[in-house]
Structures are given as structure tokens and as C-alpha cells.
Subunit: 226 residues, 2 copies
């Protein structure tokens, strides 16, 4: 559903009045890819060969740019980028660029435990001089885990309730903004009161970067095949 | 957006509690394909070469079955099926199979003018001994045209209003059921009162046929790449 959500964002962000104004897309939804978070935590099979197969498939089909609407997969970003002829957009760079800049900003990062261990959000925020907050692994992170799992199972209301409790904990710890750094979380956020936090939707920011990249190059104009 | 809607239906129809329970998908969204309806009406460029390119792309990537969530493209179904190594599911066959069987059933067909001229829905209903109704080309069909066009432009409320007027006309003419035979129409139907007609959503029925095909073959079980 996170892939569907990402595609919908691409379509909505594209200025279009007819089919032919939209951007050509090739979407490889490969759900049998081994769990990325478990692998980063050293508890599951390595998904990198499957991720590379996806990159190869898209390259063979001749795509011009690749966006991966799965945060945890960005643990292997360097290897994927090296393999691909088409450039790759980075979901964390796109998301951190959307954080409001202020000395008072404290950014909570909600993501899988694997993505947090990988640390690419923390590094990206530090490079921008932004303060961040991670949920307590024995507390609010459990709520984030449930939120992600329940979206994958299609139980959006249960997911929203868990997200709500995690947001309350983040706000209590002084967070003013929240990077929803797992593409399942924005789906749950429609079913949650997010405690007044400024929300940064990693899926939306990646979609924005993707559409911007395509429009700059005129890929929404007919003639791609002629 | 019709492609996004179709993908969402595939995901919702798949019994899944985690990523790995879902069905691998390759989605080629090629919006620059010449307008199918215009071409059937003899007023536009032939989209068949582009449709064949799409079939080739999917076959080269090794897909096991192909569904095309665009009704008008089914005008070229025989040529597309002949080109493809993977079998193709037919959207009209899937839709007509979902029509309630009763001697009192009269089925309105809402589709593009091109799809209606092509006649594949009429033939499929006739083969099943079902009575059908087509909107007046100078009346309700204009509302259907507007409905489809406005969904493509992202104006869902306007599209819903047009659909509503077309439904009232169909019900007044004795229709009891409606095949929404263009994959934009179901998106508009969420913004419309459809005059008590039994709705058959061609996109949903194609998604149901696709998921059924995949589940019978176990494509939702891990191991696709090993």
C-alpha cells in the first residue's frame, strides 16, 4: 500500500489535465524482498541481491531516474547507486530538505529499528545542523513498530492509534517536527492525531523530488516513444 | 489515477499480513499512449504500436499474466494477446461475469465512445443473453464523456456530478445495473449518487480476476527469486 500511496502522490503532484500530461512510470513492486529492517539488525536474510535485481529490471527497461519508496532499503543506497545506470534519488535527503529551519526545531525520527541503526536520517540531519530525537527503544519505538506492521497488514485504524501514542511521547520529549521515515507511517497518520507536530512525509518528499526531476526534463510531454 | 486505483484494489484484494504475503507487480504506466477512444473513432493517431511496446516491456521482464486497466485498449485485445507470451485477462469478460443474472436485469454500459463503437461489452453481454442499454449519444453520453475527462484532470467532484446525471438517465430508461466500463468512472462514482443502480466496477473485476489468477498459482508466497 506504501507503493500505491507513493504513486498516488506522483500523480497528484503532476500538473495534468489529460492522460498525456502525466509522467511515464515503471513501478516494480517486489514484496517478497526480505525484510530490510531485520537484515540491518542482523536477524534476517540479506535483501541486497533482490534489491539489485529490481535496479537491474528498471535499468533494462530504460528508466531515467529511480526512486525507492522504502526508507530501510536506503541502508544499501551506495551499492544500489553504484549498480544503476539511472541516477537514484535519496529519500532521507529529500525529507531533511523539507524540515523547517529554526534553532527551536527538534526533529523526531520515526522509522524501523533497522533504519535507525543504519543511521542515515541522523547523519543527514546532523549535516544540516538539526537537532533530533529518537523514540525510546523500550517505549515509543514499540508503538512505531506496531504502526508499521499494522499498515502492512491493512489495519489502518490500529496503526493510527499506535502512531498517536508515539507522537505524544515525542512531543513530551520536546520534538516540534516529525520525520515519518518509513513509508507505511504516512498512511497511518491519516488515522491519528499527531500531537501538533510538524509532519514531514518521506514518501511525499521523495515524490516531490521525483516529479520535479521529471518535469525539469520535460518527461511529461508527449513524444517519449517517437 | 485509474492505474493507482487498480493497484490499490489488487493490494486490498490480497489476503496479507506482511510485505511478503503480497503479489509481485510490475506496473507500466505509459500515459503518453495516444488516446484510444479517438483512434477507434478514426480521429486520432493509432496507439497500437505503443500498446505493443508496453506488452513487450512486461514480457521482457518476465511477468506471468497481464491485466490492462484501460477498457478502450481492449479494442486491440486480439493483437495484444497474439504478441504476448504471458496470457492476458479481458476486462469485459471479468466485468460481465459479475453482472447479477436475472431476467429483469438491464445493463447500462458507460464507457468511452470508442469502446462503445468497438462493441466488446455489447458482444460479451449478448453472449450471456443479457439485455443492455447505451446512453443517448446526444444526451447522457455527453455526461459520461465529461465524467471521464474530469477524472483524468483530477477534478473528481465535477466528474461525480456528471456521472450522477448519466445514472439518472439510465435508470429512467429501465437500467437496473451499470457496468462502469472505463476505469476512470469508478473513481467518480465515489463522488456520486448512482440512482440505485447495481454497480459493476470494471477495474475491480479485473483486479479480482488478476488476484485470483495469482493466488491460484501461489505467486503471493515467498521464493519468487530463489
Amino acid at each position: 500500500m506504501a507503493t500505491v500511496d507513493f504513486m498516488e502522490k506522483l500523480v497528484r503532484l503532476t500538473p495534468a489535465t489529460r492522460d498525456q500530461d502525466h509522467i511515464p512510470l515503471l513501478v516494480a513492486s517486489l514484496p517478497h524482498t526480505h525484510d530490510r529492517s531485520s537484515a540491518i539488525l542482523g536477524r534476517g536474510r540479506d535483501p541486497l541481491p533482490q534489491l539489485l535485481q529490481g535496479i537491474d529490471l528498471l535499468n533494462h527497461a530504460g528508466v531515467g531516474v529511480i526512486a525507492i519508496p522504502c526508507n530501510s532499503s536506503h541502508h544499501w543506497f551506495a551499492q544500489l547507486r553504484e549498480r544503476s545506470q539511472a541516477p537514484l534519488l535519496h529519500i532521507a535527503e529529500a525529507s531533511v530538505a523539507a524540515v523547517p529551519r529554526s534553532h527551536a526545531t527538534r526533529v523526531a525520527i520515526f522509522a524501523t529499528r533497522g533504519a535507525l541503526l543504519s543511521g542515515f536520517y541522523q547523519r543527514s540531519l546532523q549535516e544540516q545542523g538539526l537537532d533530533y530525537f529518537l523514540p525510546d527503544p523500550d517505549g515509543a519505538q514499540n508503538e512505531v513498530d506496531v504502526c508499521i506492521r499494522e499498515v502492512k497488514a491493512g489495519r489502518f485504524n490500529v496503526a493510527g492509534s499506535s502512531l498517536e501514542r508515539a507522537c505524544v511521547a515525542a512531543a513530551a520529549a520536546g520534538a516540534t517536527a516529525l520525520i515519518m521515515g518509513c513509508t507505511e507511517i504516512p498512511i497511518a497518520s491519516r488515522h491519528a492525531d499527531t500531537a501538533g507536530l510538524t509532519l514531514i512525509d518521506s514518501s511525499l518528499e521523495l515524490a516531490r523530488a521525483s516529479v520535479g526531476y521529471a518535469l525539469e526534463r520535460g518527461w511529461n510531454r508527449p513524444g517519449w516513444d517517437s
